[in-house]
Amino acid sequence: MKLLTANRLIDGEVVWLAADGRWAEDITEAEIARDEEAIERLEKTGREAAARNEVVDVNLIDVEFVDGAIHPIRLRERIRAAGPSIHPDLGKQARRRVLAPV
C-alpha cells in the first residue's frame, strides 16, 4: 500500500494526496493506492501538481494498517506525519489526533 506525499511549495507544510485530488494536511485523509494502476494514478497526479508548482519533493511512501490506522513503514514518514517527536506541542500532532510517531 502506498501514499503520495510532498511538501507544499509556499510554506513547506507536509501534505498527502487525498482521494478528491486535494493535498491534505492530515495523513488520515490520504488516498491509499493498493495496486499498480492506483500507484500510477498517484504518480501522475503528483507530477502534474509539481508542474503546477503546488508542491515539491513528491514521493510515494509505503504504509500499512496498524490497529485500523494508517502507519507509514519508515520512521521518517511517521515523524513527518506527526511532527518532531521531541515537541508534541509542535507540528501536526499538536493540531489534531494523529498517530504517535514511534
Binding site: 513547506g12 509539481a50 520512521l75 521518517r76
Partner: protein
Amino acid sequence: MYRYDEFDHAFVKARVAEFRDQVERRLSGELTEDQFKPLRLMNGVYLQLHAYMLRIAIPYGTLSSRQMRMLGHIARTYDKGYGHFTTRQNLQFHWPALKDIPQILEDLATVEMHAIQTSGNCIRNVTADHFAGAAADEVADPRPYAEILRQWSSLHPEFSYLPRKFKIAVTGAERDRAAVQVHDIGLHLRKDASGRLGFTVYVGGGLGRTPMIGKKIRDFLPEEDLLSYTTAILRVYNLHGRRDNKYKARIKILVHETGTEELAAQVEKEFEALKESELKLPEADIQAIDAYFAPPALPARPEGDAALKAATATDSGFADWLRRNLNTHKNPDYASVTISLKGIGEVPGDASADQMDAVADLAERYGFDEIRVSHEQNLILPHVARADLKAVFDRLVEIGLATSNAGLVTDIIACPGLDYCALANARSIPVAQQISTRFASQARQEEIGDLKIKISGCINACGHHHVGHIGILGVEKKGAELYQVTLGGSGDENTSIGEIVGRGFGPDEIVDAVDTIVETYLAHRQDKNEPFLAAYRRLGSAPFKEALYGREAKAA
C-alpha cells in the same frame, strides 16, 4: 565588533532584493524547482522534513544584543518561537514559510546579518574560538583574521563553485577550542621566536563519511600571507579536487590521495606566484580590521572576589555554576561566562525567543553588548565583571539557562537528527535528552568530570561524533534506529578520531551503554585527576568492550 560599511550594506540589500524577486518568480511558477533550488540554497534555505529551514550566518559566532534580539523577533514573528544554535556557530530556524523568507532576510539585514554562504559548495561561515578576545591563554584575537577571510571569501567568483563545501576555522590560543584540525583549513595563531604573528596551517581535516585529521602543511605562515596562502590552497583544491564523486570531493580526500608532501609542494608553488600580489595583506589593513575587535574598555572591578565569596557561602547552586561555567579572562576582575543551552532533558542548542531577549538584555547590561555562540551549542558572555556574576546567574536561573554543566557529561552536542533533518537516519535529540536525564545529578556529573558526548543522526557528522570522547552515530538498520558508539575522539589541540567500540545499540539500550562506559571509566581511572579521555588513551578499548559486551567480546 565588525560594523558594515556602505559597501556591505548595499551588497546585502541588493542580495535580499534579488532573492525576493526569485521567491516571487518561484511562487508564480516562472521558475521551476530545479531552477530555484540552487538559488534558495545560496540564501541558506533548505527543505527539511516538516518545513523549510533557514540557516543564518553568525560570523565567527559573534553577536551583539541587537542582533540577538532580532533573532528572537524572527523566532516569534515568523517561526515557532525558538531557534537552534548549531555546531558551526550558526542559527537555524526550522519552520519558516518560503513566502516569509525574503522579509526575514530584510529584517536580518537591518542588524547586519544574512544567510549567504550558509549552504552550497563555497567557503562557509568562518568559525573561531568562542572565547576570542577574552581568554587569558590567548596569543591574539582570531576574529580579525576570520573577518578578513569572510570579506575575501564572500561571493568570491573563483571559489563559488568548488568541488564541495569548504570550512575554515581559526583559533588564537594554545588550547584549541575551535577544533581547527577537523576543518578543511585550520589556522592556529601563534607567535614566532621574534614575536611576529602568524599561523600554523592545517589542511584536509574533516568529519563525515571519511573522518580525517588535518595535516600540518606550514608551521608558521606570517599573517600578511594569510590570503595569498589560502588562495593557493583553494586553487590547488579547485583544480584537482574530485568533482566526479560527491563522497570524494572534499579537500581531505585530495590531500589523502595526493599525499601531504606533494600537496604542500603544489600549494607552495601557487603561493610563490601569489606571494607578492595584491593579496598580500598590508599592515594598515590588518590594523583597520583589528580596530573593530578592540576589546571593550573594562573598568577596574576589584570588589568581585569579596562579592563572590559572600554569595557562594549562601548559594551552593551559584558555587556549582562558578566552578563549571567560567573561563579565565585576561583581566582578573572579569570572567567569560558559558550560558548552557543544555538544561537537563532539554534540546541541545535550542533557545526560545524570550531566552534570546533575556540573554541580549544581560549582554547589554553586564556584558559590554557581546554574545558568542560556541560550536558546542552554548552561548557565551565573553566579558562579565566577577562582581556582576551573581546578578547574571540569578537572571539565568529565572529564564531557565543556569545549568552548571559546561564540559560535563550532560553538555552534549546533538545535531537535529531525524526529528527535523531530511538526511537523517536516526534521531539524535531524544538520545541526548535521555542521557542528560540519566546523569542529571550535579554531584555525579562532577564526580565524572570532563566528558564530551557528541551525537549525529547520520554519517554527515554535524554532531561531531567522531571527535566526541564518547561519540554516538545514529544509523538505520532494518527500518529501526541503531546507535553506533565510538570512544576516544577529541577535537582539541590533540585531535583524535574515535574508534568504534563494537556492535550498535538500540534506542532502548543506548543510555545504559553510555552509563556502562562511564562506570567502567570510574572503576579504572587512576584517580579523580585522570579525565575520561586520558584514561581511555591509557587503557585502550578493552575494558570498555568487556563491560559492554562481556563474553561476546572475548569470543570475538
